[in-house]
């Protein structure tokens, strides 16, 4: 990796998934995979975040929350959807209380497929978002 210009802060939101993806995101942060060595850090509020990591197929009650969290994240921002069910509803297709997928409500930049994706794949997805974010900033200059 080239020298990083900035550290990426990530906010993680579960919109009703099974939490398989969420524990893999957490696993990506722990010593084996160590996401933090790239300066990628999980933060507790969307207001501090550059990247939104979204899991889950969006349930009816979470729809509003998802939109609100997206609006709270400062621009420029990237949205990474982790897991099949966030990308396409996956196994939760045709469920009456599932209104997703995520890209129906907020624009998505990177999809990470897998149910759940491996931690490596999640790191790769976040890195892709990071590259896109840098490009966006260059263009703006």
């Amino acid at each position: 990796m080239q020298a990083l210009k900035r550290a990426i802060w990530v906010f993680h939101l579960n919109t009703g998934g099974c939490n398989g993806c969420d524990i893999e995101i957490l696993a990506a942060l722990t010593p084996r995979y160590d996401l933090e060595r790239f300066g990628i850090k999980l933060v507790g509020s969307p207001r501090h975040a550059d990247v939104l990591l979204i899991t889950g197929p969006v349930t009816r009650k979470m729809e509003e929350r998802l939109k609100r969290v997206y609006a709270q994240t400062p621009d420029p921002k990237m949205v990474v959807v982790v897991g099949n069910c966030g990308s396409s509803k996956g196994v939760f297709h045709h469920h009456y209380n599932v209104v997703g997928p995520v890209d129906k409500f907020v624009p998505v930049d990177v999809y990470v497929p897998g149910c759940p994706p491996r931690p490596e794949a999640i790191i790769y997805g976040v890195a892709k978002a990071w590259i896109k974010l840098e490009k966006l900033k260059e263009e703006k200059k």
């Binding site: 993680h12 939101l13 579960n14 009703g16 998934g17 099974c18 939490n19 398989g20 993806c21 969420d22 524990i23 893999e24 957490l26 696993a27 722990t30 010593p31 084996r32 933060v43 507790g44 509020s45 889950g56 197929p57 349930t59 009816r60 009650k61 979470m62 929350r65 969290v69 069910c85 196994v91 939760f92 045709h94 469920h95 009456y96 209380n97 599932v98 149910c115 759940p116 491996r118």
Partner: protein, 401 residues
């Protein structure tokens, strides 16, 4: 002092039922709590009634990513119970091994999260580093880290090879060694003791009245464990004892203790299974088409119980000569453990919210957003603030020493 309402949540990451708590507080003390559920309701059971039993196995895995073996286990047992399928002996042993591996990884996951909640991130990393070993084993046995996809009605889809057995016994040796360090931290470290002893107490009476399950009820001194009360799979062949503390206070410390001892117990169970696993088939009916045809002719109701890491997980199925089950009902252990939160939270401090809510192991527990409504002026505390409060309390207690 006037009372405030303090809503916590509902963005609870990783939870079958994400929850919003509404705390009534007076100063720093919690007076009462109201719990609002349903944020994660996906309608799984309803959708399952439109799928056939083999498809439901994959759906039931996705009820929860941490109990991803317990739900299909209970469901398969319910269907086998309804139809009367005999599971081969070897499959029983493989199921038991994977179920115990799941308990191992789930309890370690919990220990890490609990440490994080009281501000011990070093311990979180220590424990999660250890946990990767069992994830590797699960991956090599089943092909996946989280959703194993190994369960099938009437047995399991993959056999254990000689190589797997060797890897497993090596891993168990590894855990026998490394667990000592983790136990030492949790049971002897002064700050952890201060933050957990005498906090979040659930009395035996309340535990029974609210029908708590799993380590939550055992820590209150009730020896309730499906593996003992109604032995199934390979548990019937061995001597499993419910883990109950000698002098149960029902506080968080007891729950920590219960889980740590259960990890040791899981290692013993896996060792026993490895030594006694019989040879033979792993599946009662290998042809899925024939299995589905048989199931669509079956009639009856069945119940499947399994002691998941968090407590008893029950599935109920009614088949009525249709390709899809007529009824499917799943009851996850966290569901039972929600009401016991009410007595636990009573008179606790705000700084204890994270550790108390984590103490029943609701998959991952942490409040994402807290709002204090103070005379209609709204002040928002988020997860970080709550976490900071928790860390502050740890530091304060240390200083008082």
């Amino acid at each position: 002092m006037s009372e405030f309402t303090l809503p916590v949540g509902p963005v609870h990451p990783a939870f079958k039922e994400p929850i919003q708590f509404k705390f009534k507080i007076e100063g720093e003390k919690i007076k009462s709590v109201d719990i609002d559920m349903g944020y994660n309701h996906r309608g799984i059971e309803r959708a399952g009634m439109k799928r056939n039993p083999v498809q439901i196995i994959y759906l039931s895995e996705r009820i929860c990513g941490i109990c991803s073996f317990s739900h299909p286990f209970s469901f398969s047992r319910a269907v086998e119970n309804a139809v009367g399928i005999e599971v081969p002996e070897r499959a029983h042993y493989i199921r038991t091994i994977i179920a115990e591996l799941e308990r191992l990884h789930s309890h370690l996951l919990w220990a890490g999260v609990a440490a994080h909640e009281i501000g011990f991130d070093t311990v979180l990393y220590l424990v999660w580093k250890n946990r990767e070993k069992v994830m590797d084993i699960c991956e090599s046995i089943t092909g996946n880290r989280v959703h194993y996809g190994v369960m099938m009605i009437g047995g399991v889809r993959r056999d254990l090879t000689e190589e797997h057995c060797q890897k497993l016994s090596k891993a168990m040796e590894y855990y026998n060694e490394t667990l000592t360090a983790i136990e030492d931290v949790f049971l002897n470290e002064k700050t952890i003791k201060m933050r957990t002893q005498g906090i979040g107490i659930l009395s035996k009476k309340d535990a029974l009245a609210l029908s708590a399950v799993g380590p939550t009820v055992r820590a209150s001194g009730v020896p309730k464990d499906v593996r003992v009360d109604q032995p199934y799979a390979a548990y019937a062949d061995m001597d499993v004892k419910p883990i109950v503390p000698e002098k149960a206070n029902g506080d968080i410390f007891d729950r920590v203790w219960c889980r740590l001892v259960e990890v040791r117990q899981s290692i013993q169970i896996i060792d026993f299974c490895l030594q006694n696993i019989p040879k033979g088939d792993t599946l009662a009916e290998k042809n899925i088409v024939k299995l589905l045809a048989d199931l669509s002719q079956a009639e009856g109701e069945g119940i499947g119980r399994h002691e998941a890491p968090r407590g008893e997980c029950t599935h109920y199925v009614v088949l009525n000569k249709q390709p899809n089950p007529f009824t499917w009902k799943a009851r996850a252990p966290t569901y039972n453990n929600v009401l016991p939160w009410v007595p636990m939270f009573k008179d606790a401090e705000i700084a204890d919210i994270p550790i108390i809510s984590a103490s029943i192991d609701p998959c991952i527990a942490c409040a994402d957003r807290v709002t204090i409504v103070e005379n209609n002026k709204t002040k928002t505390l988020n997860k970080i603030d709550l976490h900071k409060k928790s860390i502050e309390k740890s530091k304060r207690l240390k200083k008082c020493q």
